[in-house]
Amino acid sequence: MRALNIAATGMLAQQLNVEVISNNIANLNTTAFKRQRAEFQDLLYQDQRPVGAQSSDNGNLVPVGVQVGSGVKAAAIYRITEQGTMLNTNNPLDMAIQGRGYFQVQMPDGTTAYTRAGSFQLSATGEIVTADGYIVDPGITLPNNTVAVTVNASGQVLAQIAGQTTPQTVGQFQLAAFPNEGGLEQLGGNLLKETPASGSPTTGNPGATGFGQLQQGFVETSNVNVVSEITNLITAQRAYEMNSKVISTVDSMSQTLTQMQ
């Protein structure tokens, strides 16, 4: 009765599917959240009668063999890095990346994390930090008496200082790009970490070849599409039910077998 175990792998897979979908829906309003998708693959097959085996001494070949699968497993949960829509906030320290690239964030342990969530704040010393207070590389400090700050598409930060007529360049945002964005590890808090699978980052100014441009006063919203998530949820629920139907049917079949005289 392999069918019981096979159906169990099916139920586990659909459970994971629902978990991924619910995480997407939960992060509907998370800045720069990238939706995820669970990818499944079939398990090993048992060759009970191999394809192409000889069925007679005259060399007749078996046209179709008997191959029985053993269920399903999760192959990957991957992020779909499609651009989210731009939401105008008019906050001068909200920065959205239009195109490829990540902001680099200095973590308290000295490592670098990467994020596309550009809703930044100022620290007590006037430095541009993330919502968690981590410094955004390469570290941009606004002078004390700044009245207005402008960030242009190529990431230059210009501060308008009280009493001066021309804005002054105080820093330059830099972006990092990876060969395999899907290979980045998620740390939570909108932060991602470099892994051997992601490859090492190349840094560059926004707007340079291979990097997106910055848009001041905007945030990138999540790229979750509620309609498709709900549809996927319904499909996953039905698939779960069908696998559970297999289990109950196989159970009643075994009951039948025990009633044999």
Binding site: R2, V51, P63, V64, V66, T209
Partner: protein
Amino acid sequence: MNDASSVALSAQLAVLHQTDVIANNLANLSTTGFKAQHVAFTQYLSQTSDGTPISYVQEAGTARDPSEGPITQTSNPLDIAIRGDGYFTIQTPLGERFTRNGHFQLDADRQIVTSQGYPVLSDNGSPVVIPDGSGEITIGADGSVSTNQGSVSKIGIVSFPDQQAMTETAGGLYTTAQVPQPATDAKLMQGSIEGSNVEPIIEITRLLSAERNVDYAKTFINAEATQVSNAIDRLGKTV
């Protein structure tokens, strides 16, 4: 056990096996590029001691349903669905394998790889490497890969004279002794993925009929057993 019961038993064994295949189909309802399998049965002829032919049930094979699964849009630039008859060629440590599962990604060396990390081969048999610093990747219907830096390579799509003669290994990868030929009527769709072609209604119907068939065979075997024990009773009385 007499012949009648063993014929019914062969039916039960066949149906239990069919249930395993149905369970695998339903477990793979959400598996990208999965092809449903169906069991075909055949007769196994034998003779009783007086020469009357009797036929047992035996499995002939599990045939794959080659029909195309539903195409779902994912908007992931490296999700590629094949429309029509065709397979991607994958370089695995065990040699070339073929798949219709077009969920790919870039690895750290900028090669297009499967979710197991095996490179996808181009039409001339080499891995497809995206140059550093490229922007969006565009994949044409014929498999040609290009970026903003120009044309890169062409993903190979192959087909085989007999799809049923391919053996499935795990992970949607197929192996075969046939020589792959360039596919003539396959088109790629970027940003989409081919879902599993399992039809839940058909599978559930088959499952229910399998359940009934096991039940019928049980009833038959039980009736046969009663008959035999009655016979023994009666014959015992006449002596």
